[in-house]
């Protein structure tokens, strides 16, 4: 995304400043990259207790059919997203992605059945393109960006206890449930989901109540604010893709090892097979596989291997395999972790390959994802 015009701010901007956050531009917003505790402590706190993240920069969108039925909205969105949306039960959420005619990924998203409409959450950097894409292509539907709500993520093993201190109803929710919940007197939409590999919640809250809610959550002794720095290391340890790094229009969902998100109903022989952009390629790849795959990469040494490092089959850098797409130090793994694309010949866990870092070829082992054991409440 190009940096044009002044930075936008979220409804929690003043709170971030009052908490001493270091702010950086991210997807056109002035966002907290870390608080005084620092990335390492914030990451470990989220895995040990509970972390609060401002993700209000993400796009919240309502897709509603003119007929007023969920089914018509679901069938319309299925023309852009290779996921079984019709089969999504009321109060349930699913992961998906918009694909293009070449079978690449335009963005990834969360979508929820909210009874008579779909509630969609998309990435900040892609949201205007996603909204335009839906408005242009979803026949018989209204596509309405929600501009008056913030989005707060609460992640970690203590997230349930922290949120239950405001409304005990949330304890009955399972992973990927979505409900209306009243919090600090505000009508919120709460899903049991997140981007950290931990149990947790994502809360859509009216903008004018967002700071009240964040302060009420932070008042709990187990809850600390967490910046974008730790959000990135948490999601990478959890093996979750970052759009623009690990997936983009040059990666297909199958190359990206995301075939689990394409349910049977949309595959060859399914009740609603194909019917989305790039279906020919994507469904062929479900059956026949791909030349390359996204894999986890565990550097053997202590040096982090970052995005765009080249990967090689040999320690001399003769046989180029592909590229690292995300890489950092994993505070919970206590060592560097990365993801990247390699040919299927080198994609089996345990395969030793090499990453070029500052002119050296460092040994890296292909690893199963995620690097940590998720604690989702199934």
């Amino acid at each position: 995304m190009t940096d044009t015009g002044p930075l936008l701010s979220t409804p929690l901007h003043a709170l971030h400043l009052s908490l001493g956050a270091r702010m950086v531009p991210f997807a056109g917003y002035d966002m907290p990259v870390q608080y005084p505790a620092g990335v390492m402590k914030e990451h470990l706190h989220t895995r040990a207790k509970a972390g609060l993240f401002d993700v209000s920069h993400m796009g919240q969108v309502i897709v509603k059919a003119q007929s007023g039925t969920f089914e018509d909205a679901a069938l319309a969105l299925e023309t852009l997203v290779p996921v079984d949306i019709l089969g999504l039960k009321p109060g349930r959420q699913r992961y998906g992605f918009f694909t293009d005619e070449k079978g690449g990924i335009l963005d990834d998203l969360m979508l929820a059945n909210r009874g008579d409409h779909l509630f969609v959450v998309v990435n900040a950097a892609c949201k205007s393109a996603d909204i335009a894409h839906m408005q242009a292509n979803l026949a018989g539907c209204s596509v309405t960006p929600i501009k008056d709500r913030a989005l707060i993520a609460l992640q970690g093993p203590a997230a349930e206890a922290v949120l239950a201190s405001l409304n005990a109803d949330v304890t009955a929710m399972s992973f990927m449930d979505v409900r209306d919940v009243t919090l600090v007197g505000a009508d919120c939409i709460v899903s049991r989901s997140g981007y950290s590999g931990e149990d947790g919640f994502e809360i859509s809250v009216p903008a004018d109540k967002a700071e009240d809610l964040a302060r009420a959550l932070l008042a709990h002794s187990d809850c600390e604010p967490i910046g974008l720095g730790a959000r990135d290391s948490l999601r990478l340890e959890a093996g979750l893709c970052l759009y623009g790094n690990d997936i983009d229009t040059l990666t297909s969902p199958i190359e990206a090892s995301l075939e689990w998100a394409i349910q049977k109903a949309r595959r060859l022989g399914g009740a609603r097979e194909g019917g989305f952009p790039g279906a020919d390629r994507i469904l062929r790849e479900v059956t026949n596989g791909t030349l390359r795959r996204r894999v986890g990469l565990k550097p053997d040494g202590k040096a982090p291997v970052r995005a765009h490092a080249r990967l090689f089959a040999d320690a001399e850098g003769a046989h180029d395999l592909g590229e690292v797409t995300s890489g950092t130090f994993g505070p919970s793994v206590e060592g560097p972790v990365a993801m990247g694309y390699v040919p299927v010949s080198h994609a089996s866990p345990g395969t030793q390959i090499f990453a070029e870092v500052r002119g050296k070829y460092l040994p890296v082992t292909v690893s199963a994802l995620p690097f940590i054991t998720p604690t989702y409440k199934r």
């Binding site: 870390q34 620092g38 990335v39 390492m40 402590k41 720095g229 982090p304 130090f329 560097p336």
Partner: protein
């Protein structure tokens, strides 16, 4: 004698050898360090040559050689525990000792007062 560079390194001069590290300000800006790569003893660098690399969770940064010279000692303690650089950057978190090619070069560097003014 303590000297500073605009690249946020400090040098403690004893004869023709300077102990070199990064300043508290630099350590604070970098955040939690997770990896340090030091030069080899015996390596020679020109002024502003890339002598060491530090990595935080978020990013890698170069540490420049503040003056021309030869590395005569390195602090292996910070490669085994990079957090020493965050906790004590101007003490136990030093990087290397540099035998200066020309001691008089140090005269051009900042003193502590000038450095403090630079970082505000």
């Amino acid at each position: 004698m303590l000297k500073f560079t605009a690249e946020h390194e400090w040098l403690k001069l004893e004869g023709d050898v300077a102990t070199v590290g990064i300043t508290q300000h630099a350590a604070d800006q970098l955040g939690d360090l997770v990896f340090v790569e030091l030069p080899e003893v015996g390596a020679s660098f020109e002024k502003n040559g890339e002598a060491a690399t530090v990595e935080s969770v978020k990013a890698a940064s170069d540490v420049y050689c503040p003056l021309s010279g030869e590395i005569v000692e390195i602090n292996e303690a910070i490669t085994s525990d990079p957090s020493l650089v965050n906790s004590n950057p101007q003490g136990a978190g030093w990087f290397f000792k540099l035998k200066l090619s020309n001691v008089a070069d140090a005269d051009d560097l900042m003193d502590e007062a000038a450095y403090k003014e630079l970082i505000g």
